[in-house]
Symmetry: C2
Subunit: 241 residues, 2 copies
C-alpha cells in the first residue's frame, strides 16, 4: 500500500498550474484583447493558486471518501504432478505484478517446507488446504490477490477453498498422465511406481478432475507462454479494471 508524499503534491500543483496558466491567459486575452494584461493576470494568479492547490491536495489526501477498495481474486492452479502448474503460475504472476496490483505467489513447495511431516493422505491434504485457505483469507482481507499452485486432487478440498475465499478462479492445468510421466525430471513418478511414494496423485491416488474450472489449459496443445497469456487476458478482462 502506498501514500502520497508531499513532493508528489507539490509537483502535481506545478503540473496543474501549467495547464491553468495557459487557460487563464487565453481567457483574459479574449476578454481584453491585451497581451500584457493577460500575462500580468497569469503571473499574479500563479503565485496564489500554486499555494492553494498544494493545500487543497494535502487536505484531500486525508479524505477517504470516493476511494474504492480493490477487490482481490484468487487464481487457483490444479493439476497432476508435473502437469506444468508451477511454470504457468510463475509466468502469470510475473505478468500480473506489472499491473501494480497487490499480489502474492503461493506454491505447494513453499508451504510444505513450513509444515514438515505432513502427509499426503486425504485427511492430511484436506487439513492442509484449510491452512492455505486461511492464508489466502488474511491476504484478501488486505486487498492482496493470490496466485496459488497445488495438485489439490480432491473436489471437496477445492470446494472448501472456493467457500473460504472471494473471487476464486480455478485453472485446471490438464496434461495426460503419460506426458507427466515422460516429464519426470524430479523422478517422483518413478518412485511412486516403484512403491516408494504412497498416495501419489496419478499413480496410487486419484485426481478428481474439476467440473467447474473457470479456465482449462490443455498443455498438450498449448505452450506455457500461450497458457499464461490466456489467463492474464482473462484476469485483465474480468478482475482488473
Amino acid at each position: 500500500m502506498y501514500k502520497d508524499t508531499n513532493i508528489r503534491s507539490i509537483v502535481k500543483a506545478i503540473s496543474w498550474r501549467a495547464i491553468a496558466l495557459v487557460t487563464t491567459m487565453v481567457i483574459v486575452y479574449l476578454f481584453t484583447g491585451e497581451i500584457e494584461t493577460a500575462i500580468k493576470a497569469g503571473v499574479v494568479e500563479t503565485g496564489f493558486k500554486l499555494f492553494f492547490y498544494w493545500m487543497h491536495e494535502r487536505m484531500w489526501f486525508k479524505v477517504r471518501w470516493g476511494r474504492k477498495k480493490i477487490e482481490p481474486f484468487n487464481l487457483w492452479f490444479t493439476g497432476l504432478p508435473l502437469s506444468g502448474k508451477t511454470t504457468i503460475a510463475d509466468l502469470v504472476y510475473t505478468e500480473l505484478e506489472k499491473l501494480h496490483i497487490p499480489i502474492e505467489r503461493i506454491d505447494a513447495s513453499n508451504i510444505r517446507n513450513l509444515v514438515p511431516g505432513i502427509g499426503f493422505t486425504r485427511a492430511d491434504r484436506n487439513i492442509h488446504m484449510h491452512r492455505i485457505g486461511y492464508l489466502i483469507q488474511k491476504l484478501q482481507k488486505n486487498s492482496v490477490s493470490t496466485v496459488v499452485s497445488f495438485v489439490s486432487p480432491y473436489t471437496e478440498s477445492r470446494k472448501a477453498i472456493r467457500e473460504m475465499v472471494q473471487q476464486n478462479i480455478v485453472v485446471h492445468v490438464k496434461a495426460e498422465i503419460e506426458t507427466c510421466k515422460a516429464r519426470d525430471y524430479k523422478g517422483v513418478y518413478a518412485k511412486a511406481i516403484a512403491g516408494e511414494l504412497k498416495n501419489f496423485t496419478g499413480v496410487n491416488d486419484v485426481y478428481e478432475e474439476p467440473k467447474h474450472a473457470e479456465i482449462t489449459i490443455d498443455t498438450e496443445t498449448m505452450s506455457a507462454e500461450e497458457a499464461a497469456n490466456v489467463i492474464v487476458k482473462y484476469i485483465k478482462k474480468n478482475y482488473v479494471k
Copy 2:
C-alpha cells in the same frame, strides 16, 4: 488497498473550483476595478477548468511517482498463559484499525486450530514460530502490519521472528505466575499442575523473559486499557506518521 473512483475526481475538481473561482474573481477585480468583468471571467474560466482539472486528476491517478510504500510493523505480544496478552492485543488492534492502516490480528488460538496435533515441545514451538513468521512476511510484503499474541516462551524463537520480519516490536506482558494462576478461568493451570498438560509454560516448562522488549507492560500495576493506551501511543509516535 484503495483506488480513487471517478466520482472522487469530479467532486475534487468542484471543491478546487470553489477555491480557484474566488481567487480569480478577486484578482480580476483588483486589476480592473470592475465587478462585472470579474464575474464574467470567473464564469468562463470555471467552464474550461472544471473539465481540465478532472482530466488532470485522472492522469495523475495513473502516475505512481511520489507515492511512498507504507512500511508495516509487527507488534509481538509475549507472556505467560493468562498474563493478559490476548485482551490487551485485542484492544490495541481495535484502536489501530481506526488509523486506517492495513492491519491484521493473529492470535495463538486461531493458528493452533489450523494446525491440529502440533505439540508444545521446544521443537514443535520453534517450527510453529516459523510458520507464523512466514505468514507475517507475506502480509508485510503487502504493507499489512500485524498484532500477534503468542506465549512464545523461548528467546530463540522470538529471535527467529525478529530476524524474519521488519519493524518488530516486542511487548512483554508481565504478570506474576501467582496472578496468572489466580485468573485460571480456563482451568489450564490446574490441569498442568495435575500433570494432565505437559510442557505448560510457567508450570512444567520455562518462560525465558525477554531482555530486549521494546515495551514492557506490568499488569500488576496497569489495567488492560492503560496498557493498550501506552502501546498505541508508542505506535503512533514511532510508526504511523
